[in-house]
């Protein structure tokens, strides 16, 4: 039971006075995976992470990290995780090196090992030059790296990062993402985010959370595949508008179509196929037989954004925030 999955969560529920933050959550994360928890604000991402990091107890259900129960064996769990909370709180009055040293000692590393590890994570997170600076004087990007270094310092089996790129500028976001990608090569990482492109870029698997429930859980590619089945085909063709309309209306595979003028003589046709059909060869065949001119033929690839909107749309969204 312990070897395969590092996180096992079953039927996890957390109720605060008056509302349920997480209800009936069940999922598992295997060793070496990079999993993204995706959801709008208030979906229960932070609560889930706080339970996994033993900060809050669950109201019901079981959560295990590396085979240890987060409630009854909290000490064992805490030793094995590196957790960076939302907004990355740090002791702003300390120097970078002193802070990391303090955290390493707090996490039970011996004097000598803590020194070696602090050097290693500072190198890894690009903090070597700012080691003597006071954390409060650093830019947000550097502070984020300090938070990451803290999460890594005791070589945890699992790294939990809550919104690691929130409030950073694009350059810093890129740097932090690169760091996370590097980590992914030899750590298990659980990231939460409400930015879809981020999860798409860094994670191999996504759990979409909405109002405390998992709406979808799959690899990013699979989710895209599911969505691309219903993906639209766009074709720009130079032909009389009446001919085009007649042609699409005849085709049984086209569920819905829309023809609109594009620049020049071309008309832009947006075709929605019936499920499971790839319209592109059919469109090409039509163009060929009728002697039209085709200048563009594409199938829209759905980003996670669409998937996200797709799965969350069906639920009422009045309780966000």
């Amino acid at each position: 039971m312990t070897g395969e999955f590092i996180i096992e969560v079953s039927d996890l529920t957390k109720r605060y006075a008056g509302h349920t933050a997480v209800s009936g959550l069940t999922f598992a994360v295997g060793r070496g995976e990079v999993v993204g928890l995706l959801g709008p604000n208030g979906a229960g991402k932070t609560t889930t992470m706080r339970i996994l990091s033993c900060y809050l107890p669950a109201s019901s259900g079981v959560a295990r990290v590396a085979g240890f129960d987060v409630f009854t064996q909290a000490d064992e769990v805490r030793r094995r995780i590196g957790y960076m909370p939302e907004h990355n709180p740090l002791h702003l009055d300390m120097r970078v090196r002193d802070y990391l040293k303090f955290r390493a000692r707090l996490k039970g590393l011996s004097w000598r090992r803590s020194r070696a590890r602090v050097d290693a994570v500072m190198e890894r997170c690009g903090l070597t030059e700012v080691g003597r600076r006071i954390i409060g004087h650093l830019s947000k990007g550097f502070r984020q790296r300090v938070g990451l270094a803290d999460a890594l310092v005791h070589e945890p089996e699992l790294i939990i990062l809550d919104e690691p790129t929130i409030g950073l500028d694009p350059h810093q976001i890129r740097a932090v993402r690169q760091l996370i990608k590097d980590l992914a090569q030899n750590h298990t990482v659980l990231i939460s985010s409400h930015i879809l492109s981020e999860v798409e870029m860094t994670c191999s698997r996504v759990l979409i959370l909405h109002q405390g429930r998992i709406l979808a859980a799959d690899t990013t590619q699979n989710l895209q595949k599911i969505m691309s089945d219903g993906g639209m085909v766009v074709a720009e063709i130079a032909a009389p508008i009446a001919d085009l309309r007649a042609c699409w209306a005849q085709m049984a595979e086209v569920e819905h179509f829309d023809v609109a003028p594009a620049e020049g003589d071309y008309l832009r046709c947006a075709l929605t196929p019936r499920t499971g059909v790839d319209l592109r060869p059919l469109v090409f065949a039509q163009v060929l037989t009728r002697g039209w001119v085709l200048r563009e033929l594409t199938r829209t690839q759905h980003s996670l954004e669409d998937i996200f909107v797709h799965v969350t749309r069906s639920k009422p969204e009045e309780e966000e925030g």
């Binding site: 990091s53 740090l90 002791h91 009055d93 996490k107």
Partner: protein, 250 residues
């Protein structure tokens, strides 16, 4: 143990990197200076045979220092960490709640003890200029320090408790000041009207802090007073621990 020591060191360090620590030390020095001149005047006016520490203690300054410094030293212990969010990183590190509570308390107590060190200086100055060996009686001085430490421990534990209840440092300081002031006022019998019920009067009598302090400054270490301070301190630390654990009850 390692986590505890690391935390104590951090707590002490935090007092010295922020301005608060130096402000506390400076104010204590000022009040000590006042009480020192007061003491000199008393000594030069009438020949005295009571131990020096007792005269020192009998001035109002001692209580002023205790009542004012305790809230300031302890207010940041939990409240500031909760406010800044570092409480979450602290509580997800492999440390137990008890370790955290004890470390915060010890850090505050150590800092409090440091602020009292200049008192030794005052007494050394006195000894140097009077050439009177009895002035510097190390036994009465040690027991006075022990008393200071014990009453300080009680006030620090109350401060930690107040701090563990809230996210706001100001609220924490006010709560601990009110707690400390109440305990102090209860021991001023002239201010509190004599309770009509006998057992209440007895409880008030027992809580009288100055009674418990007097023996210490005279150089007498009495176990009754030791027990009084240690149990009350332990009680407030227990409450602090429960306040820290309470996040799991919600």
């Amino acid at each position: 143990m390692q986590a505890y020591l690391t935390l104590v060191r951090r707590e002490l360090g935090a007092c010295f990197v922020s301005l608060t620590g130096y402000v506390v030390i400076a104010s204590v020095l000022l009040l000590l200076g006042f009480s020192f001149t007061d003491l000199l005047e008393k000594l030069s006016a009438t020949p005295n045979h009571v131990p020096l520490t007792e005269i020192f203690y009998s001035t109002l300054y001692f209580w002023l220092i205790l009542l004012l410094t305790a809230p300031v030293i302890t207010m940041r212990s939990f409240a500031f960490e909760k406010f800044s969010g570092t409480y979450e990183t602290l509580m997800t590190a492999p440390v137990s709640d008890l370790q955290v509570v004890l470390a915060k308390f010890s850090g505050a107590l150590l800092f409090y003890a440091l602020t009292w060190l200049p008192l030794t200086g005052c007494i050394l100055v006195l000894r140097y200029y009077t050439n009177e060996p009895t002035v510097f009686d190390w036994r009465s001085l040690t027991s006075a320090y022990l008393g200071l430490l014990l009453i300080g421990a009680l006030y620090m534990s109350m401060g930690c408790f107040a701090s563990a209840l809230t996210r706001s440092q100001i609220l924490a300081a006010m709560n601990s000041f009110v707690l400390g002031l109440t305990l102090f006022l209860l021991s001023l019998r002239s201010l509190v009207p004599a309770p009509p019920v006998d057992w209440v009067a007895q409880v008030f009598n027992y809580l009288c802090l100055s009674d418990h302090m007097e023996d210490f400054v005279r150089g007498v270490v009495d176990t009754r007073h030791l027990v009084f301070y240690v149990t009350l301190t332990a009680f407030f630390l227990f409450l602090t621990l429960k306040a820290v654990e309470s996040r799991r009850w919600k």
